[in-house]
């Protein structure tokens, strides 16, 4: 099978009905695996990992904080991608997927902020500090709010999809800019990224390493969050497709009646 044929096969799912049928079939898998991963990962992390010598039992927060933080960013990236697809290929499912994902992103950002704030209280002695990473998450939260508010405010679904897509594009550029601006403005307290650093995974002796005892349950939680995100996006996109269809049916009734 050639690459273009494969690509065409992928675009097939842009058909709402096909998408609904497929997602109906795969959804149980995602729901169940995500539940399993999360339950196992969190139980493992919460009950069966030792306390950190420095942070005490608070390390256990990492199993929620890090996956939520990752998903908060990835969700925005996904919205950016689907917005682009909508603008270029005008597949409705794509726009609706972006709309469906935004509230998930909001919740993920909120979890990251909440767990971070709760963690910060014993570690840094304050609920909140204007650290660059924390600050950029707050800004990301604002972008999510504006994005959702714009979707809600516009009547016509296609116009709303177009406008929110452009907002997502322009917003991403400004979010990136803000990230640099904030970095310049204040150097922070927060951990550098170390989970994804090879040294950390191999257990090299860096100060910030996340050692293997913590790493495996954390990985399981991250996988669980990813699967949960996928399940939610599929499910909610289905809901949005139906809502869109209701709107279209009503509009048609209005014209013919």
């Amino acid at each position: 099978m050639s690459i273009t044929a494969k690509a065409n096969a992928l675009w097939e799912y842009a058909n709402p009905r096909k998408f609904l049928a497929t997602s109906e079939r795969v959804l149980p898998f995602f729901w169940i695996t995500s539940a399993v991963c999360l339950v196992v990962g969190l139980t493992w992390g919460f009950f069966f990992t030792p306390d950190d010598y420095k942070q005490g039992s608070t390390v256990k927060i990492i199993y929620l904080h890090v996956p939520a933080s990752l998903m908060a960013i990835n969700c925005w990236l996904m919205m950016l991608a689907t917005s682009l697809v909508w603008l270029v290929r005008r597949h409705h499912v794509s726009a609706l997927a972006a709309r469906a994902a935004a509230p998930i992103g909001i919740v993920m950002t909120l979890i990251s902020l909440a767990t971070g704030a709760i963690w910060g209280q014993p570690m840094w002695g304050t609920w909140w500090a204007w650290d660059p990473r924390l600050t950029s998450f707050l800004i990301l939260f604002l972008f999510y709010l504006g994005y959702v508010a714009l979707w809600e405010a516009i009547e016509d679904p296609d116009t709303a999809a177009d406008l929110t897509s452009v907002l997502c594009l322009v917003g991403s550029v400004f979010a990136l800019l803000s990230r640099y601006a904030v970095n310049f403005w204040n150097q922070g307290l927060h951990q550098g990224a170390s989970v994804m650093r090879a040294a950390a995974v191999t257990g090299a002796d860096t100060e910030e390493k996340v050692s293997n005892i913590y790493f495996y349950p954390l990985l399981l939680c991250i996988v669980g969050f990813v699967l949960l995100f996928i399940a939610l996006v599929f499910y909610r996109t289905g809901t949005e497709i139906r809502a869109r269809r209701i709107k279209a049916l009503l509009a048609r009734e209005r014209v013919s009646g």
């Binding site: 969190l42 919460f46 009950f47 306390d51 005490g56 039992s57 608070t58 256990k60 927060i61 929620l64 904080h65 939520a68 509230p103 998930i104 919740v107 909120l110 979890i111 909440a114 767990t115 709760i118 963690w119 209280q121 014993p122 949960l228 939610l232 499910y235 909610r236 289905g238 809901t239 139906r242 809502a243 269809r245 209701i246 049916l249 009503l250 009734e253």
Partner: protein, 52 residues
Amino acid sequence: MIPDLGKYSDTVLSAYAASILLLVALVVFSILRGRKVRAEMDKLEQRMSRHG
């Protein structure tokens, strides 16, 4: 049953509680809305196919 969390037990427990609450709320609201919208659409499709 709950492991000894030391002096940070409030911190850890509240972090877990808040996160799980948010996650569960997200899932529950998604499913409630999904059910409602699906029922509404089915009703509408039936009505419209009856009236042509």
